[in-house]
Symmetry: none
DNA sequence: TAAAAAAAGAACTAAAGTAGAACATTTATA
DNA sequence: TATAAATGTTCTACTTTAGTTCTTTTTTTA
């Protein structure tokens, strides 16, 4: 294979031939490669000829021919590899992914699951976070669709109007809008087809507050 | 079977040749393989030559050529690759945030903005991505709310039914469902209150395809 | 824990790159 | 076609970079 200088020169020759239709002179190559003497170019070209990247038509000036150039990886693959390297440096916050939420099991019950999800740092500044996959359509008018990932901040308390993970009767976890009335807690869906559940404070508690939604399209 | 070091070196040589067009020096190989002495590299290369994975032009510097790549990777390498894959799930990528989309300026016009956004790496593995903040309610039934961040993959083409960034009349960028009819392009909103725009193909072009949505609650 | 393998380091040799000048050949044009 | 201009070749001398070989040290493993 080639040395860096040889490669640079080869590419320059190939380019000028393709662009201008004729082979550059040694003077021009000097400029392009950044050396001050023609003898250097001569030596480089002799090497390129020996390694069969270039052919010379004897007894002619400006009569080089590029035989082959090293074959390359496609650009997009190189870019992807660069991205991977970059991404490996930028490790972002990891939060556990606890499975689906809608009906059924309370969050703790499935906390053993070991999946994690990476989320941008600015979503999870302070506090303890976890993620749930939303199941069902009950929050659709809040732009929360079936299959979305909900990023939840663990908390026991919520303010009126916040979307929370609520645990009902210690058995059913659900994502709803939290409203504390005089003697009741209202869990409001965001979907006309669903009804607000009105519960006694003893029947329900907050497990977390919705902090973000992430969705992937394929 | 090659030792992990040999394999790693072989892949490094192959890769640099394909990426940079020229053969790496021993000094560079030292770095790549993680050895502190050139003599080690020398030994490894002698081995690779012996086993005919690599060829050398005698009495030349930077004159190695990869003959073939082994079919099987050493175990250590496979394990290392698994680790990298795992790490990738835990990492994020930076993509540019180009401002808001709804009406007005085409994307290129605001491409100078220098904000970046970190997104989970698995959202943006291949291709070129950018982010836009959604303005308006026209896609609300697709769960895309005012203020959401749309993660977009740059593309000139789209399939029917995909949500795309469409540039209308070279001046107005908008997020809509793309439908190609016989002689028309339909840009469908996802909101009953908005109407589908029916355009001649010359009036509209795709700038990107929606790949993800991210939303933050406060 | 002794033998073998791998790695590090130093000293050395060889190749690549740089520079300038003189000279040879090809090309353009008067 | 003679000549000047442009281009290419060769030579010497030197610097930097690259590759080799050998000895010593460290690590592995039988």
């Amino acid at each position: 294979m080639l040395t860096p200088k040889q490669y640079k020169l080869l590419m320059f020759i190939d380019n000028t031939i393709k662009e201008k239709g004729c082979c550059p002179s040694y003077e021009e190559m000097k400029e392009a490669v950044g050396i001050k003497s023609k003898s250097g170019i001569h030596a480089l070209i002799e090497e390129l000829i020996e390694r069969e990247f270039v052919r010379k038509i004897p007894h002619k000036a400006r009569a080089l021919e590029v035989v082959r150039i090293p074959r390359f990886k496609p650009k997009d693959i190189i870019e992807e590899e660069k991205k991977i390297k970059l991404a490996l440096q930028n490790s972002s916050a990891q939060i556990p992914l606890y499975g689906k939420i809608a009906a059924g099991t309370p969050i703790e019950a499935i906390a053993y699951e070991n999946d994690t999800l990476s989320v941008p740092f600015d979503m999870v500044e302070r506090g303890e976070f976890y993620a749930l996959q939303v199941e069902g359509e009950s929050m659709i008018e809040a732009g929360i669709m079936d299959g979305d990932i909900a990023v939840i901040k663990r908390s026991n308390v919520a303010e009126n109007g916040q979307i929370v993970v609520a645990l009902v009767e210690e058995s059913e976890a659900t994502l709803k809008v939290w409203r504390k009335k005089k003697d009741e807690i209202w869990l409001e869906p965001c979907n006309k087809d669903y009804e607000t559940r009105k519960l006694h404070p003893s029947q329900v508690r907050v497990q977390g507050i919705l902090r973000g939604i992430m969705r992937k399209y394929h």
